[in-house]
Amino acid sequence: MKELFIFSLMALSLVACGKQDQAVATTETETQDQATTVVAEVAETRDFSSLIQQAEDLYAQTKAANHAWSVNLDRLKEARQSASEGDMDNAVANAEEAIKLAELALIQAEAEKTLWQDRVPK
């Protein structure tokens, strides 16, 4: 147990040292760094816009199937809200959750197409 603990600490410090080196490197090439940041932000926005588009499409499908979930709508709203406030991490997380919820709602819609029939009291 003790060995494992010490080993983990060592491993963690190694990771941290690596990061530090990287940091030194980036400060030395500041202009390039700024350019990369802009590129990264554009990529992130494009990423999010395709993600939220997918989430909206799937939600529309659940609505058309009469199986929309309110929690799905909540996640969509929060994703849009966070994006408008520039909190892209939260925006992406919520869009991804919305997609998962929509997929589950569609599974429910599909399964229920036939399952309901056996539930009618005879």
């Binding site: 979930w69 709508l73 429910q108 229920e112 309901w116 029939q117 539930r119 009618v120 009291p121």
Partner: protein, 274 residues
């Protein structure tokens, strides 16, 4: 009744292929389900909803009914009902001399090919006479239907399902009722049949039999009178489903099915609930 039904069934088989729905058999099966769950309770009592099976809640309710909270709505509704439209005509030109017609609604309009609830019929009447439609769930429309319901007291539901198209609408309503929905994965049956009589936290759950008899309802939680589709929305929201639009095809068909399940029962609206 049996005879109409048989005709409908024959028509359905001829025109729509092998449709198995037999609304009358299904109505009786539902009654016997509740008969088995509540031996000794007169099924007709379920027009009073949960108060048929909860003594303590019934006492509070009977007390409340001494000064019915829906009385003002009936009075307002009467005035609205008897105020002529700008073209000089009135609701009586649409519904006849007796405003007590709620026992026939929802009805299947064969010409339009869709279910018409009392609320839709009221708004249709207005629009045919050049008036604007009223908002669906609460307010003047609920008051007019409260007045009409009051005049329908003592009548028994006579919902008719007489054509293949009507059967199809009933089937859609039935499917809606028995379909799991929302993140919580509930059907209407989950609560109102499987869980009936049990407590959800502090709320005892009523049977679906009798669910249609007493609308519109003054609800303590609402502090006003509203119609049955407002309750549908609440029961959908409870299970984390997105509710449907009032008077959407889904809710009209659901109301058609649900009201047919109460066929033959006495109307006692408007009502009051917690």
């Amino acid at each position: 009744m049996k005879w109409t039904n048989l005709t409908a069934l024959v028509l359905a088989t001829v025109f729509a292929g092998p449709v198995q729905a037999d609304p009358e058999a299904e109505r009786l099966a539902l009654r016997s389900l509740y008969e088995q769950k509540f031996p000794g309770v007169d099924l007709e009592e379920f027009k009073n909803g949960v108060y048929a099976i909860d003594e303590k809640m019934r006492e509070q309710w009977v007390e409340m009914e001494d000064f019915p909270p829906y009385e003002i709505a009936i009075d307002e509704g009467e005035e609205l009902y008897n105020t002529p439209f700008t073209n000089g005509k009135s609701y009586a030109d649409c519904f006849g001399e007796d405003p007590g017609v709620k026992h026939n609604y929802p009805m299947f309009d064969e010409a339009k090919g869709e279910v018409v609830t009392l609320e839709v019929a009221i708004n249709n009447c207005r629009q045919e006479n050049g008036e604007e439609a009223l908002p669906w769930l609460v307010g003047e429309l609920a008051e007019i239907s409260a007045y009409m319901a009051y005049n329908s007291r003592g009548n028994n539901f006579e919902i008719k399902i007489d054509s293949p198209a009507a059967i199809a609408a009933y089937e859609h309503g039935k499917q809606f009722y028995y379909t799991r929905r929302g993140q919580m994965n509930f059907e209407c049956r989950s609560c109102h049949q499987q869980n009936v009589g049990y407590m959800l936290r502090a709320e005892r759950i009523s049977p679906s039999l009798g669910h249609a008899t007493h609308w519109p309802v003054y609800r303590g939680r609402w502090q006003y009178i509203g119609n049955i589709q407002k309750r549908f929305q609440e029961c959908n929201i409870q299970v984390r489903a997105v509710p449907f639009e009032p008077q959407s095809e889904e809710y009209r068909n659901l109301e058609y099915f649900l009201t047919y399940m109460s066929n033959g029962m006495e109307l006692n609206g408007p009502g009051s609930r917690r």
